[in-house]
């Protein structure tokens, strides 16, 4: 169990709804759900998920902490916003899905190798380092996330696209060495650190 997770379990005991309300972005909306099922029925990928939003909200209220936070359903959300548009109680369902995913990520409870999480993590790391997403490094990192051999295979499969992009001057191979960055990455790092500190204090991670 991660340190954050241990701390959360101790703090909230059996009140998972309260935990979600206090720590998950837009989590205070969960109790407003009236279980009508429109979000579940309207989700274009609904039949591909194990837990629809409707079901996740009921599970939160039923205190099924482990099952909710280790579910990979909220990672499947494509942000089409159909659920938000149709929800008769105007719950920001899409945002709650992302909030839940982010919280599960902070507690490190996400199923191993969850692809959406890996993409998000690589994207963020690239961005936070230089202030710019290095598209070449980001794509290569994605190719190699499942090991070296698979990485070579992926790269070979995509090489046509790569050369095409280079020809169209949409991809610069020199980006592999350092790459471009914002004017003052040091200040960006400080800003991100400060934002993280404020966020942690608000959500009670610091204490």
């Amino acid at each position: 169990m991660s340190e954050h997770n241990q701390q959360a379990v101790t703090r909230y005991r059996n009140n998972f709804l309260q935990e979600v309300e206090e720590r998950v972005e837009d989590g205070e909306w969960v109790k407003m759900c009236m279980q009508c099922g429109v979000c579940a029925g309207s989700c274009p990928l609904g039949n591909a998920w194990q837990h629809t939003p409707q079901k996740l909200f009921m599970m939160i209220r039923a205190g099924k902490r482990e099952e909710v936070l280790t579910s990979d359903s909220m990672w499947m959300c494509t942000s089409c916003y159909n659920c938000i548009v149709r929800c008769p109680r105007k719950l920001p369902i899409t945002h709650i899905m992302h909030g839940l995913a982010n919280y599960a990520h902070r507690l490190n409870l996400v199923p191993k190798g969850q692809p959406t999480r890996e993409v998000a993590r690589l994207f963020w790391n690239s961005l936070a380092k230089t202030g710019r997403v290095n598209e070449l490094k980001f794509s290569l990192a994605l190719y190699f996330k499942d090991g070296f051999v698979q990485g070579i295979r992926n790269a070979l499969a995509m090489q046509g696209v790569g050369f095409g992009l280079m020809k169209a001057r949409r991809l610069n191979p020199m980006e592999l060495f350092g790459g471009h960055k914002c004017k003052d990455p040091g200040s960006l790092h400080k800003m991100i650190a400060k934002a993280r500190e404020i966020e942690d204090r608000k959500k009670g991670f610091a204490s």
């Binding site: 009508c36 099922g37 429109v38 579940a40 029925g41 609904g46 548009v85 105007k90």
Partner: protein, 428 residues
């Protein structure tokens, strides 16, 4: 027409549905002078267009008939149809109201013989059938119409058809030269019994009311079930006239929804439960009704009716707000998509006909009310700030007929109190 004589001890009731008739009659029978102004061509409002009432499954004609008899016997009550309130100025106990009276083109000589309707050829969408049927442009509003007089649609008045109607009348009842008029009256208090209107179902985009013929509103379904209605009481679906034997009822169509009406319309659960029994009446054990609901709200004694319907094997309940409706092109049937909350099962259910239990919106929404009228967040009327005007029935809150009558009686009592106080102040 000359303006009826009125004083600041007169009560004006706006709207001649079941609530307005009740409020007007209760006050008039207490000896008060009452003017009842109805915008349409006949009294009765939406109640007259229902097939049966819940929970006793009796016909509205019965109650309307009693009220009409009371009305005809009462000399304190004057009825103005095709009359709209233009303005209300003044204060509690001393109002001046302006009423606009539209021409009927038919005078009191009319015996409702129907010769004019035979003579005209123009057809209009029947305003009393929610667009499900057409009628000749000279028509009797409905079987229970009061006054029992024909009406000429304004569109034919200056045409050859209008002339034909006039020529066909043996009683000189048709006056093509009638003009709209505006009258000003003094009244002491106003009772707003403006009633409700169905929420515009086309706004609920995923249900396709505007795209699919076989998606109808609960009010249209009442007309289908009514023997006086467009199908002679047979439950025929609009697209191909096939008997609808497998009917879906979708609850909260527009109600309890922040995107549509925020309030619970309160009557729709009972209305749908009632309508499942229309299918049973028509087909016995052969019919099939499925009610898609969030939760069934059958309050206090009405719950007995719900329990009875639950026992009916032809009625199935699915706890789910339907997410979307798709058309099956080949059969004209509709496929309802959603997730059942009891077990979270995904369904795609096929039905002949879908009835949307549409919510109740105040009829006064979109109409400029006098400045001192207070309304709630949904537009229902609470009354005037100085206690000189009141709301009755569905104008005040989503109410069924029974509770509308109670509300109207209460409003009549409030109005009588204002008149008494006015009289006392003037030493009359």
């Amino acid at each position: 027409m000359t303006a009826p004589i009125s004083t600041n001890q007169t009560i004006l009731v706006v709207g001649g549905g079941i609530s307005g008739m009740t409020a007007a009659l209760e006050a008039a029978e207490c000896g008060k002078q009452v003017i009842l102004a109805e915008r349409n061509t006949s009294l009765g409002g939406r109640t007259a267009l229902l097939y049966r009432y819940f929970p006793k499954m009796c016909h509205p004609t019965c109650g309307l008939e009693i009220n009409l008899r009371r009305l005809k016997n009462n000399r304190n009550l004057r009825v103005l149809t095709q009359t709209e309130v233009v303005s209300v100025t003044g204060q509690r106990g001393d109002y001046t109201v302006a009423l606009k009276i539209s021409p009927r083109y038919v005078n009191a000589n009319c015996t409702a013989c129907g010769e004019c309707a035979k003579a005209v050829e123009t057809e209009i969408s029947n305003p009393y059938e929610y667009g499900l049927a057409k009628t000749r442009a000279a028509y009797l509003p409905h079987a229970m119409a009061y006054p029992q007089r024909y009406v000429l649609d304004p569109s034919i008045v200056s045409t050859a058809d209008g002339e034909k109607a006039r020529a066909a009348c043996k009683y000189d009842a048709i006056e093509l030269g009638m003009q709209p008029e505006t009258v000003e009256l003094k009244v002491g208090t106003v009772v707003w019994a403006t009633g409700w209107k169905p929420y515009d179902a086309a706004k609920i985009q995923p249900y396709g009311y505007d795209r699919f013929d076989n998606v109808v509103t609960s009010l249209e379904f009442e007309r289908l079930a009514d023997p006086h209605g467009p199908t002679g009481g047979k439950l025929l679906r609009p697209s191909d006239g096939k008997e609808a034997r497998n009917i879906a009822f979708i609850q909260c169509a527009g109600s309890r929804d922040e995107n549509h009406l925020r309030h619970c319309s309160r009557i729709c659960c009972m209305a749908s439960l009632k309508q499942t029994q229309y299918a049973r009446e028509a087909y016995g054990e052969e019919g099939k009704s499925t009610v898609y609901y969030i939760d069934i709200r059958s309050i206090d004694r009405l719950e007995d009716f719900y329990l009875r319907v639950q026992q009916d094997p032809t009625v199935k309940f699915i706890k789910s707000k339907v997410a979307s409706i798709k058309l099956d092109e080949a059969s004209g049937d509709l496929i309802l998509h959603g997730v059942d909350t009891e077990g979270y099962h995904r369904y795609a259910a096929q039905h002949d006909l879908v009835v949307l239990a549409v919510g109740m919106e105040p009829e006064s929404n979109g109409i400029a009310l006098p400045a001192d009228i207070v309304t709630d967040s949904s537009g229902f009327i609470e009354g005037a700030a100085d206690g000189g005007q009141f709301a009755a029935g569905a104008a005040s809150s989503p109410l069924d007929v029974n509770r509308s009558v109670q509300s109207a009686t209460a409003a009549a009592l409030h109005a009588i109190q204002v008149v008494h106080q006015t009289a006392a102040a003037e030493g009359a």
